[in-house]
């Protein structure tokens, strides 16, 4: 267990300040000043605190599997459940196979649309933040299986072949670890909450790994028995009853979403109170009312999951079939629009109160615009595909990178995001490159080069890019912990410390 987690375990449970004590203390300090009515000046929640959205949740879940650094005989390997399943850090005695099209029934491919570009066509409204992920379908992410028709909202598993040369890879040291027998195969299953990982080797020496969501040990046993590698790709010889292989496009769709945040820009009153902007730049300007749009994969099934049958009301607004639901207390209205397999979710939030009529009126003011118009309306500093390479270049200034480091994957992304998001991606990418360098030098027996990488990682706390890397979202902490794997040999690389460690891994580059 990480040392901070050990200390965190000692956190005392303390009684809350009682109402009577609270009132007495208030009188003592402030006399009879009335309890402040909620004013318009609220700082909005950070992205990671804003409700649960399939895209975000999925990302977090995969990252939980991803944040497992494993030290095997071949050096450090960072295992990812995200964009890449494995990033080998050292030469292998045989090529690490990719996984590709299975030989079993495949669910129909889902079209991955471009997120709609929308603006609020009302006076005073502007965009204050945008975040999106536009992942390309990749054949080498592993084979994903799920009960028919339930993906991505039901259980799923992803299986990847690791080749015959990675015997040192181990499963995460989660407390709930056990072995199951799958037709003679010994499968080591490790579970944490709804996430499972499993590994096994076949008699011919092939090594497989699995990560899954909301699956049982029996599911894993049944699946493991039907997985093989034919020399080219992972194949599924026996899909369990009721399951199907998910298409790569559907898998990619999960990492394909857009979030855009608007504010009416109403200043707080009085302006001298609580009026500070977040110095980290993470939180938006204070405003009275906000609107956010989220476009993600899930469609009607996502709606059913997020809106109970007895909640929500179906209406036609501005030509769209919508489902509207309202938070108790009246400060928050959510409007769902279903477009095929995709969900467009619009939240209207107010510091004091918002009625559904006001929210619907605002919704009716949303206008889909072309890419150029949308881009022009984004806040200064937003990084678009056109400016990303230059921003990455700026962020790299003064940042030590190993020889041959390629920033292309970060610089070439087509997603439009804030500059701190780009900084976070780049910081992770560079830290991973140094980890690769360190492991490779170790395998080559090059002590000087290995020490150079260790020295570079020891400097991570001083990397200026961490001051820009999505402060508040914990990316800086995550990069620091990655570096500790090398700079402090006593670190147990399998001991992760949620939630910081759930934020990503080398595989998320």
């Amino acid at each position: 267990m990480d040392e901070l987690a050990r200390f965190a375990d000692l956190k005392p449970v303390v009684p809350a300040l009682g109402k009577a004590d609270r009132a007495a203390l208030r009188r003592e300090l402030f006399g009879d000043i009335a309890v402040a009515r909620p004013s318009g000046d609220v700082t909005l929640l950070r992205l990671d605190q804003r409700g649960d959205r399939p895209g975000r949740r999925r990302r977090g879940v995969l990252a939980a599997a991803a944040a497992v650094a494993v030290a095997g005989g071949l050096g450090v390997v960072l295992v990812s459940g995200g964009a890449d399943d494995i990033v080998p850090s050292a030469p292998t005695t045989g090529a690490v196979p990719t996984t590709s099209a299975p030989s079993s029934p495949v669910a129909a491919a889902a079209e991955v649309p471009v997120p709609p570009r929308v603006l609020v066509d009302a006076p005073g409204w502007s965009v204050y933040d945008v975040y999106e992920v536009l992942a390309e379908p990749r054949a080498d992410r592993g084979v994903v299986l799920a009960p028919a028709g339930t993906f991505p909202l039901g259980p799923w598993v992803r299986v990847a072949a690791r080749g015959s040369s990675t015997p040192g890879v181990t499963t995460p040291a989660w407390p709930d670890t056990s072995s199951v027998d799958a037709d003679g195969l010994v499968v080591t299953v490790s579970r944490m909450d709804q996430l499972s990982t499993a590994t096994w080797s076949t008699p011919d020496g092939m090594f497989f790994s699995l990560d899954g969501w909301d699956v049982t040990a029996d599911d894993i046993r049944a699946l493991a028995a039907g997985i093989a590698y034919d020399g080219v790709a992972v194949t599924v010889s026996a899909v369990p009853d009721g399951w199907e292989v998910v298409s790569p496009e559907q898998v990619a769709a999960l990492d394909h979403w857009n979030e855009t945040y608007f504010t009416d820009g109403t200043p707080s009153a009085p302006p001298s109170t609580l009026a500070g902007s977040d110095p980290t730049g993470d939180a938006p300007m204070i405003s009275r009312r906000t609107l956010s749009t989220h476009f993600y994969y899930g469609g009607e099934s996502a709606l059913r999951r997020r809106v109970a049958p007895d909640e929500g009301e179906r209406l036609v607004v501005a030509g769209e079939d919508v489902v509207i639901s309202q938070e108790e207390g009246g400060t928050y209205v959510r409007i769902h629009v279903i477009r095929g397999d995709w969900t467009w979710e619009v939240d209207v939030q107010d510091a004091v109160a918002v009625t559904r009529e006001e929210a619907l009126a605002l919704f009716a003011q949303l206008r889909e615009v072309d890419e150029a118009t949308w881009t022009a309306a984004l806040p200064a500093g937003t990084v678009t595909p056109a400016t990303r390479a230059a921003v990455v270049g700026e962020l790299l200034v003064g940042l030590p990178v190993p020889a041959g480091y390629d920033s292309g994957p970060v610089a070439g992304s087509l997603a439009t995001v804030s500059r701190p998001s780009v900084a976070a991606d780049l910081a992770v990418s560079v830290a991973c490159a140094w980890l690769d360098e360190w492991a490779l030098a170790g395998d080559m027996g090059d002590a000087e080069r290995r020490q150079g990488a260790a020295d570079a990682l020891a400097g991570v706390p001083d990397w200026p890019i961490l001051d820009e890397a999505a402060p508040g979202d914990g990316w800086d902490e995550m990069v620091l912990e990655m570096a500790l794997v090398v700079t402090d040999p006593s670190v147990d690389p399998l001991a992760t410390t949620p939630p910081r460690a759930q934020l990503g891994s080398c595989g998320e580059r």
Binding site: E3, P12, L25, F30, P279, W463, D467, P471, G472, E477
Partner: protein, 181 residues
């Protein structure tokens, strides 16, 4: 801003953050002292509200910073409280698993004692970083705002703290021999 406006403003801060500040203080020094710390925190906020600089962090961080400074006066209490909590946690472990071998219990208790010794030995600034990170679940940037130091310094301190606390887990061979001999 008039005095009334100031009081109204800080009263608003009180309404919004008193529970957070109280919980933080109570975790460190217990509910009894926490009330005094909370009262002093908001008294100081009233007196010095003009020194609040939004550019340096949000109001909550500023209030936590004041409370943190006040809590340093009570570090002995904090230490005693921490050891009491640890003893309680250790007792719970053996109650859950009474079959835990005696030698393992001894090891666990010794390890915990060593950890607490190291925490006692941390300088106040490092201890603040540790508590704000591990108990209040703050990021480096948030801790930096509370303590008025750069985020890089927070990260460096965390690095150092981890190293020190980790060292406490490895008893010297001589100690092991003495204990098991």
């Amino acid at each position: 801003m008039s005095d009334d406006d100031t009081r109204a403003t800080v009263a608003g801060w009180f309404d919004r953050y008193v529970d957070d500040v109280h919980t933080y203080a109570a975790r460190r020094v217990g509910p009894e002292l926490a009330r005094d710390v909370v009262a002093d925190t908001f008294r100081i906020a009233l007196e010095q509200h003009r020194r609040y600089d939004p550019a340096q962090g949000d109001v909550r961080a500023w209030l936590f910073g004041i409370a943190t400074n006040l809590l340093r006066r009570h570090w002995r209490t904090e230490s005693r409280r921490l050891r009491a909590t640890a003893r309680s946690a250790g007792r719970a472990t053996t109650e859950i698993d009474p079959l835990l071998r005696a030698v393992e219990r001894v090891d666990a208790v010794r390890e915990l004692d060593a950890l607490l010794d190291e925490i006692d030995a941390l300088d106040p600034g490092d201890r603040d970083v540790l508590v704000l990170t591990a108990w209040e679940d703050m990021t480096s940037a948030e801790v930096a705002a509370v303590l008025g130091i750069p985020a890089g310094t927070v990260r460096s301190r965390l690095n150092r703290i981890r190293t020190r606390l980790r060292a406490s887990r490895t008893p010297a061979p001589a100690a092991l021999e003495a204990d098991h001999g």
